[in-house]
Every structure is written in structure tokens, then in C-alpha cells.
């Protein structure tokens, strides 16, 4: 009957781990729950973002969930998150890197604890490439050599219009999406448009025609492309498919610096905790503290998915055995800048993606597209 009426008990965490990640997560969860009176239950909703959106205001949501830090601003505004600064027992400054700590805070409140940081980087197939290219022009040369769509061979595999994957180049010449201080849109700036033009010139000619994620992946995983640009989560999949994918830092750009977005992975504290009973609050806080500091979890994350730790103990010491890949990703993270968290940014992604797609398809020039996109976004802000 419980199942039919579905009334759920206990403290809950929502997650959106992939299958590979899930087993490690489950292991951690078991370990955490072992011996606890109030255990933490895990659930994986079909579409976490939408479901949080309805469940939280209705008091039907989880106590915690994991996601990149970029929702902090909006969730603060919608009052979906809980400020746990008074409840935390851990010394934040001592434990997490500065970047990461900044990411989970908003106007002084602590809305979650960070456990990793990630970004996209270059990957290459050693069958085609001996040494990873140092500069973009080297990379273009190699892509040029292999690119031959007629025979199912491409230069690069990359979700081609998703701003997250393109951010390194879009922001290569000093451009950015949004100025958090002045709350102004920056995509019409010359620096940003230059970034788009760089894509047009050096990147897009070498990817498969369908910019979508699902279409791009197989090109690399089946060994039909020398390069891919993707995140640590895909590494395992590539290797399982039989490509000995290697990670490299993003190549330098003439006259600029590739600046990818980085995402801090966070266990959020939700507004559910405001009315929650003592034990639920305790469980949630303890879980976040435990997970973000647990060695096994950190190593699992690093090894399985190439997630870069944000725990100071593991970043400083090069001796920590986290593997090559993580170190390489860490190098890329160094170049990057955190995803903006301002609520207004939320309205930027979709229009920007459409705008980029129009340029990708050759329907509009970079400047035109950005101009109309900016207009579009401003309309939405109203």
C-alpha cells in the first residue's frame, strides 16, 4: 500500500549520476548509512531540474541533491535552498579550495558543500596523434589531415553549439557572457564575437554536421576522429568502446587564452530543511560533510570520472594518487573560470545556443547572430 499511495519516509537525496557513477555513489551511501538510525535514501528523478522546480515549493522535494554550482543564484532567489552556515561543523576555509567555497556561497549564505570541480578538455586518439598539439594551429593541421566526411572520418568530435563546451574559445579573447557587477550582457562585445569567429574558422569545419551530443560521440568512440573535446564523464565510455583516449590540456590560441567554464559539483541544501525535523537536518549535513571529505569518495570520483577534488588535502599534494587524467583536467581547470551563478544567466543559455546554431549552419554571421541573440535575451529579462 505504501507503494501505491507513495508516501515516502525519511531523508532523501536526489542525484543524476550516470550508471557508472551510480555504483560508486551507492557504495559510499551504504557506507555512510551503515549504523545510522536515520538513513539517507537516494533517488534518481527522470529530469531533476524540472522536478525540483515543482517539488521544492510543494514541500515534496529532497533534502539534498547534487548538481553544478550554477543554480545557486537562482535558487537563492526562488528560496529553494537552505543556508546551513549555522549548522555546519566543518571548517570551510580549512577544507575546500577558495574557488569551490566561493561557488557554494551567495551573499554570505552557504547553500551546499562542494565535492569536485570539472571542465571539458581536449582528448586525443593516440592511433592518430603521437603528441597532443600545443597550439590550436597545430591542432587544426592535424584535423585538416584527417577530416574526410565522405569516408566517415572527421577532425574533431564535440557537442558543437553547447556554450559550455565552447566556452574555452568563446572567452578566449577576453569575452564573457555576462557581467555580474553591472548585470549586463556581454555577448555583443567584439571580444566575444571574435571567439565565435574563431569557432567558425578553426573548429566547426572539422566536426560532424549534426551538432547534437548523441551524434558527436560515436565519431570519436569508434575511432573515426583524432580529437574530442569533452568532459571527464565521457572518458570511461570512450575507453570501453575501445579507443585509448588520452587527455590533454586545451591548446593555446594565438592572441588569446582558452578560458573554459568550470563547474563545481555541489551537494545542495534545499529549502526542505527549513521545516525538517532534527534528524533529517542532521543526516543531510553529516552526509554533505562526510561525502565531501571522504577519501574513498574523492578517489572514486577522480579515478572513475576524472573529477578534480576540491578538498585542499588532495589538490596541494601532487603525490596523491589520483591518476594522470585528473592532473591534466586540473591543468585545464586552472585556465578556466567558474560558471556564472547570477539568476539572469539562466535566461542566456537557450537563446545563445540557438544563436550559435544559426552561425554553425551558416545562416547568419557571428555578429548578426549575437546581436539578435542579445536582443532575444534582453526581451526575456523584461
Amino acid at each position: 500500500l505504501d507503494r501505491i499511495t507513495g508516501q515516502q519516509q525519511g531523508t532523501t537525496a536526489w542525484h543524476d549520476f550516470t550508471e557508472a557513477q551510480e555504483s560508486a555513489f551507492k557504495r559510499s551511501l551504504e557506507e555512510f548509512n551503515d549504523g545510522r538510525d536515520d538513513t539517507l535514501n537516494a533517488e534518481a528523478p527522470a529530469e531533476m531540474e524540472k522536478e525540483l522546480e515543482t517539488a521544492l515549493p510543494a514541500d515534496q522535494g529532497p533534502e539534498t541533491f547534487n548538481w553544478a554550482h550554477d543554480w545557486i543564484g537562482r535558487y537563492h532567489e526562488q528560496e529553494f535552498v537552505y543556508d546551513a552556515s549555522d549548522d555546519l561543523e566543518i571548517d570551510l576555509e580549512e577544507t575546500y579550495t577558495e574557488n569551490a567555497l566561493e561557488a557554494v556561497q551567495w551573499e554570505g549564505a552557504v547553500y551546499g558543500l562542494p565535492y569536485a570541480i570539472e571542465t571539458v578538455s581536449l582528448m586525443y586518439n593516440p592511433e592518430y596523434v603521437d603528441e597532443p598539439p600545443e597550439t590550436l594551429s597545430e591542432m587544426v593541421e592535424i584535423m585538416e589531415e584527417y577530416h574526410d566526411p565522405e569516408n566517415n572520418r572527421y577532425g574533431l568530435s564535440m557537442p558543437s553549439v553547447d556554450p559550455y563546451f565552447l566556452s574555452a574559445w568563446l572567452q578566449a579573447f577576453g569575452g564573457s557572457l555576462f557581467d555580474t557587477e553591472s548585470e549586463e550582457l556581454r555577448i555583443e562585445d567584439d571580444a566575444f564575437i571574435e571567439g565565435v569567429e574563431l569557432l567558425e574558422e578553426s573548429i566547426w569545419p572539422y566536426v560532424p554536421g549534426d551538432p547534437g551530443y548523441d551524434s558527436q560521440i560515436p565519431v570519436f568512440s569508434e575511432g573515426n576522429a583524432p580529437f574530442a573535446i569533452n568532459g571527464p564523464w565521457e572518458l570511461e565510455g570512450f575507453r570501453e568502446a575501445g579507443v585509448d583516449a588520452q587527455v590533454a590540456p586545451l591548446p593555446d590560441v594565438d592572441g588569446g587564452d582558452p578560458t573554459p567554464f568550470t563547474g563545481v559539483q555541489v551537494w545542495y541544501f534545499t529549502s526542505q530543511l527549513e521545516s525538517a525535523d532534527e534528524s533529517a537536518l542532521e543526516t543531510t549535513i553529516e552526509w554533505a560533510e562526510w561525502y565531501t571529505t571522504n577519501e574513498q569518495a574523492i578517489i572514486d570520483n577522480a579515478e572513475i570520472q576524472g573529477l578534480i577534488p576540491v578538498h585542499q588535502d588532495y589538490t596541494d599534494s601532487d603525490n596523491a594518487d589520483l591518476g594522470e587524467d585528473v592532473l591534466t583536467f586540473a591543468e585545464t581547470v586552472e585556465m578556466g573560470t567558474p560558471l556564472p551563478t547570477h539568476p539572469k544567466v539562466d535566461q542566456i543559455w537557450d537563446p545563445l545556443e540557438s544563436g550559435l546554431e544559426r552561425v554553425f549552419n551558416g545562416n547568419e554571421s557571428a555578429a548578426q547572430a549575437m546581436e539578435s541573440t542579445a536582443q532575444n535575451i534582453r526581451d526575456r529579462w523584461e
Binding site: 507503494r3 501505491i4 507513495g6 522536478e51 510543494a58 548523441d214
Partner: protein, 322 residues
């Protein structure tokens, strides 16, 4: 008991009839050859039939290509759907790995039980109001009959879109009443949505049952209830079968509402299927998705295939032609 065995044997015979076509096809082929040889049928005549049949079969192949494609994909574990080797993976590499995964490792079975719970409620509740409603609308005169009928016709096809439109309102309603995340309520909700179309459908069907059967029964001394049980219901069988299938589908296939109202431990199959695409990373695991989808759609497809004549009868708007 004997009734049960009678039903099972007749169902068995019915399935057997559906499945023995190769033998019958061979028989008629033999006869045709004989006819041509004895000059009873011209070669041209046979050829025309051959071309017609081949054309129809070709059309069918084209139409059902997506089905074939998913089927192939579900068997191609290890060589993704978007494989650059082509649409059709090498049949030698076909394996049942994905099905094993769906059945034993995914939450398929668990969600299937949820789906079954929802569907049984939907079917039970909707049938128990649709049949009397259709009967009354078809056979009785009462206050507001035309109004209700009009309303039902207007709402026949609005159900699905309406639910999306009123999604948030529904959610608010359910949450406020504490009825969200409740399979029972979800089932009842589907039943409610299925009422207008199916009531109207069944009513149209019942309209074509001649009144004289009822009159005969009344003259034979049957009471109102006996007339319904002994005459109307048995004669409405094809219509009821179709409505049964439709209400079943209403509960089995719906996804948007289920996703909104249910939490993941209560997901039905359709939401689980969707979370295969949407959840957990960027990439769609096509093979698993296909296997999952096929196992999900198979029962309904099988019912359709076997109940074809009922469906054709039940959807025959005989009274509407002309």
C-alpha cells in the same frame, strides 16, 4: 471451471488461427499452381495478385522501418545505434545483453509493477463508469443528455493536451490534497481523462445494436438489468474490447503527468523509459533504450495484433457512413 477451460481453448484456437498462416499460405500457393497448370487461372491473373501483394508488403516494410530499426538496435549491444558502420549492425554481433540488463539490472520490473497498478485502476475505474454511461446515452432519454453528449464530444480529444496545459494546476491540486505521488490517484486521473472519448465511442457502438433485440428480451420477460446483462453487454463486446484497449493505453503510455506527479521510487514504465534518455548524462544509451522500449511496448502491440478484428469492428462507425 468448464467455462474457464472453454475460454482458454477458444483463445488458444484464436491465437492458433492467427499463427497458422504459413500453412494456409502454402496451401493456397499449391492450389494456385495447380490452377495455373490446369488452365483455370491465367498466369497474368496470378501475376497481378503477386505484384499487388508484393507492393503491399513493400509498403509495409517502409512504414514499419522504424520498428525494425529499434529491434535491430536493441540487439546490437556494443555497436551503438548511431554507429558509423551503417544502419544495420552486423547481425552476427546481435546479442540479448540489453534485454538482460533491462530485465535484471534496471528498474524495469519494479516500474512494470507500478505501471500495472496504475493501469488496473485506470481500466477498472473507467470501465465501471464508461459502460453504464455509454448505455444510458445510447438507450435512455434524460435531462441533460444532449448537453453531456456535446460536452463529451468536445472533450474527446482534448484530454492529453489539456493535461499538459493544466499541469501545474493539477500538481497544485494534488499536492494540496496530499494526493501527489500516489499511484492510485494517478490511475483514477487517467480514468477520468479517458471518459469522454471512450464513452462516446462505446455509445456509438451501442447505437448500432438494433433495439429489437432488447424488445425481444423484454417480451421474453427480462427485466431492465437482465436486458443489459444478457443482451447489451454481450453484443457490445467488440466495442468494450476496443474501449478496454484504449483505457489500458491511456494508463500504460502516458508520461508527462506521471513524471510530474510521481517520485522516482514510484515511476511507471514510461517515465523510466524517459529517464533513460534524459537522465544520467548527455548520451542516450540507445541499445538499452530500445530493449526497454520494446519490452514496454510489446504487450500492447501483441494485444493489438491479436485483437485486430475486434478493433476493426469496434471502430467501425457503420452508422456514420454515408
Amino acid at each position: 471451471m468448464s467455462r474457464f477451460t472453454r475460454y482458454t481453448t477458444s483463445i488458444g484456437r484464436w491465437i492458433a488461427r492467427k499463427l497458422t498462416w504459413p500453412r494456409r499460405a502454402a496451401d493456397s500457393a499449391r492450389v494456385t499452381v495447380k490452377q495455373v497448370r490446369t488452365g483455370r487461372r491465367t498466369v497474368r491473373d496470378v501475376a497481378k495478385t503477386g505484384v499487388g501483394t508484393a507492393g503491399a508488403a513493400a509498403l509495409l516494410l517502409v512504414l514499419l522501418f522504424p520498428v525494425y530499426w529499434v529491434l535491430a538496435a536493441s540487439l546490437s549491444q556494443g555497436s551503438g545505434l548511431m554507429s558509423s558502420q551503417g544502419i544495420f549492425a552486423d547481425p552476427r554481433s546481435y546479442n540479448l545483453e540489453a534485454y538482460r540488463w533491462v530485465l535484471f539490472e534496471s528498474s524495469f520490473t519494479y516500474a512494470a509493477v507500478n505501471s500495472l497498478i496504475v493501469v488496473s485502476i485506470t481500466v477498472l475505474v473507467s470501465m465501471s463508469v464508461i459502460i453504464p454511461g455509454a448505455y444510458a446515452l445510447s438507450r435512455r432519454e434524460f435531462l441533460g443528455r444532449r448537453g453531456i453528449l456535446y460536452g463529451y464530444v468536445l472533450f474527446t480529444q482534448v484530454g492529453a493536451g489539456l493535461s499538459i496545459a493544466t499541469l501545474i494546476a493539477l500538481y497544485a491540486l494534488f499536492v494540496n490534497l496530499g494526493l501527489d505521488n500516489n499511484l492510485l490517484v494517478l490511475g483514477v486521473f487517467y480514468a477520468a481523462g479517458a471518459i469522454p472519448f471512450n464513452t462516446w465511442l462505446l455509445k456509438t457502438f451501442m447505437d448500432n445494436i438494433p433495439v429489437s433485440y432488447e424488445e425481444a428480451a423484454i417480451v421474453d420477460g427480462a427485466s431492465q438489468w437482465q436486458v443489459i446483462r444478457e443482451i447489451i453487454l454481450p453484443l457490445s463486446k467488440p466495442g468494450i474490447a476496443v474501449v478496454l484497449v484504449f483505457t489500458f493505453l491511456a494508463g500504460w503510455n502516458e508520461f508527462v503527468i506521471a513524471q510530474t506527479l510521481l517520485q522516482s521510487h514510484n515511476y511507471t514504465l514510461s517515465v523510466e523509459l524517459y529517464s533513460l534518455i534524459a537522465g544520467g548524462g548527455y548520451e542516450t544509451p540507445w541499445t538499452e533504450f530500445s530493449a526497454f522500449a520494446i519490452l514496454f511496448a510489446l504487450p500492447v502491440a501483441a494485444i493489438y495484433f491479436l485483437a485486430q478484428s475486434y478493433v476493426e469492428d469496434g471502430l467501425s462507425f457503420g452508422g456514420m457512413s454515408g
